[in-house]
């Protein structure tokens, strides 16, 4: 039976995500090159690097929004292959927050939040709504529950998107540049929610250029360039004592303002 083989890492003390020898190409472009990465339960990882370095592609491989050609990805004990059952299992355990929010514009905030619990988790509507209201409370916008996404500011929309993911009670949260599309005034309200989430013990992978966030909550900072992990370290060491020249150059460029 394939399921026993596929669940080899299901023990709770093992890593939450295990990536081994991951390679991926877009056409002939080698976007991810031999990535090895273990993420522990409750670990908060910030991934940074110049644009085109493959950091978004890496986290999109973790919930199979991108297919990889070589290597092994095991998420919470599930092997990511072409097996749709495994993919669905992983997707219902892993929440994702996008740069462009991707809220469903034809549904109210509350409906956005209850859709997946009702249709994927088969929760009763009333129960799903009660849970959604709790999460909207947590991201501090319960009063917007019956509005449509188009009526909210960018920061509010991104907080709804976070609440929407949390409603599935995920074990892992992926953030793909969650503040890059926001006005400066709104970045803080989203980061506050993310800090709060990090302190609650959620396993998080965050692609971001917010270095303040990285030094405040990350257990580990990963620097990527040209599809490879160049350097990884604790935020303190990473910012104060970068090892490679490429990292030093990157840090000098983003911290120079």
């Amino acid at each position: 039976m394939p399921s026993t083989e596929n669940q080899e890492n299901a023990n709770p003390n093992g890593p939450s995500i295990k990536i081994e020898g991951l390679n991926k190409w877009f056409g002939s472009f080698h976007v991810l090159r031999d990535i090895n990465l273990d993420v522990n339960h409750g670990e908060r990882i910030v991934v940074c690097g110049p644009s085109g370095s493959g950091k978004s592609t890496l986290i999109r491989c973790i919930n199979r929004l991108e297919e990889h050609q070589e290597g092994k990805i095991v998420v919470d004990g599930f092997h990511l292959t072409n097996d749709l059952k495994q993919i669905d299992a992983v997707r219902s355990e892993v929440g994702m927050v996008f740069q462009s929010f991707n809220l469903f514009p034809h549904l109210t905030v509350l409906e956005n939040c209850t859709l997946a619990p009702i249709w994927v988790r088969k929760q009763p509507k009333r129960e799903a709504e009660a849970a959604a209201m709790e999460y909207l409370e947590r991201v501090k916008i319960p009063e917007q529950a019956n509005k449509f996404p188009g009526q909210l500011s960018g920061g509010q929309q991104q907080r709804v998107a976070i609440a929407r993911s949390l409603c599935m009670k995920p074990k892992i949260m992926l953030f793909d540049e969650p503040t890059s599309a926001l006005d400066p005034e709104m970045i803080k309200e989203v980061l506050d929610v993310m800090v709060d989430l990090a302190e609650s013990g959620m396993t998080m992978l965050v692609v971001t250029h917010e270095m303040g966030f990285a030094s405040q909550v990350a257990d580990r900072v990963i620097f990527m360039d040209e599809g490879q992990i160049i350097e990884q370290n604790t935020p303190q060491e990473f910012f104060n004592n970068p090892q490679s020249d490429r990292t030093k150059l990157f840090l000098s460029q983003i911290l120079s303002h």
Binding site: R91, F98, P105, H106, A116, V120, G150, Q151, S165
Partner: protein, 370 residues
Amino acid sequence: MTQPFFRQKDEMLSERPPPASTVGIIGWLRSNLFSNWINTSLTLLSLYILWMAVPSLIEWAFIKAQLSGDDRFACSEDGACWAWLDQRIGQFLYGLYPAKETWRINIAFVLLFPALAPWLIDNIPGKKWLRWYSIFYPFIAAWLLVGGWFGIIEGVTTNNLGGFALNLTVGLAGIVLSLPIGIMLALGRQSRLPLIRWFSVIFIETVRGVPLITLLFVSNILLPIFLPPDVALDAVIRVIIMVSAFASAYMAEVIRGGLQAIPKGQYEAASAMGLGYWQSMRLIILPQALKISIPGIVNTFIGLFKDTTLVIVIGLFDILGIANAMVSNPDWLGLSSETYVFVSLFFFAVCFSMSRYSMRLERKLDTDKR
């Protein structure tokens, strides 16, 4: 000496209403009808044309019109001749349907409204039950129109079904069938599975690439190929199949346009939440794609409805066929203006209602700007 620059505002300004000349009726007239000299002269020209056309049209159609008489010779030359209405209205509505059976069409027509209501009106009591009823309505209507009942009620052959009743039957059946088939074809055309994609592309391109009139002509040769040998298809059913297939091909392309307007992020967000293909389509993608496609969908519906007049080529007498027959009848020869105006009113009423309803629907579904 330069002015010292403004450093700090002492007090925030409060809101004021806009100037009176830009709001209300006067403001509307100024900005819409008399905003500049081109606009003003167009307004005056339009008023002049209306002044010339409307009174004489009313005079022709109503004031000088002749309402009764046995033939066209009872009518004067000045006004419209509506004398034929009294004799012929039954044919215009029901075609050659037996006169004493027309109550069946009337009942089917009345029963249509509760079948449409749950799909068109939001807050209607008993919506769930009405939806169930509407699923059975086509069978009820078909039986009412042509079925018999133990010899107490005689069956009617569909060839006798005609007039506007035939246009409505074919039009409604076409509308109800072409939307779901069009959706499936549009999704099929985007499918990753080659067989489904090829089938959709071939169907759409073939059916869309030929005139409907040829499809109707060849339907009695073509359709039997796909059916068991001993099934003889009734002419009305044949027309419904062909009209639906034709409209579905257009519908598929209209909806494909809507699907392509949905950002990739919507698909990704739906998959990332664990929704499967059909769930994503039904809950996320299609509601948005169909909303965008409403103008095109209604356009196709309206086209389909007017195309029902083509049934004349396979020997069915819809309202236009009846009209053609009448204007070539010696008693009523030469009354084409009156007849075709009358026929147009029927089509206009139905098509204009569809158009108005769709505009209301668009406003209701417009969640971006609410």
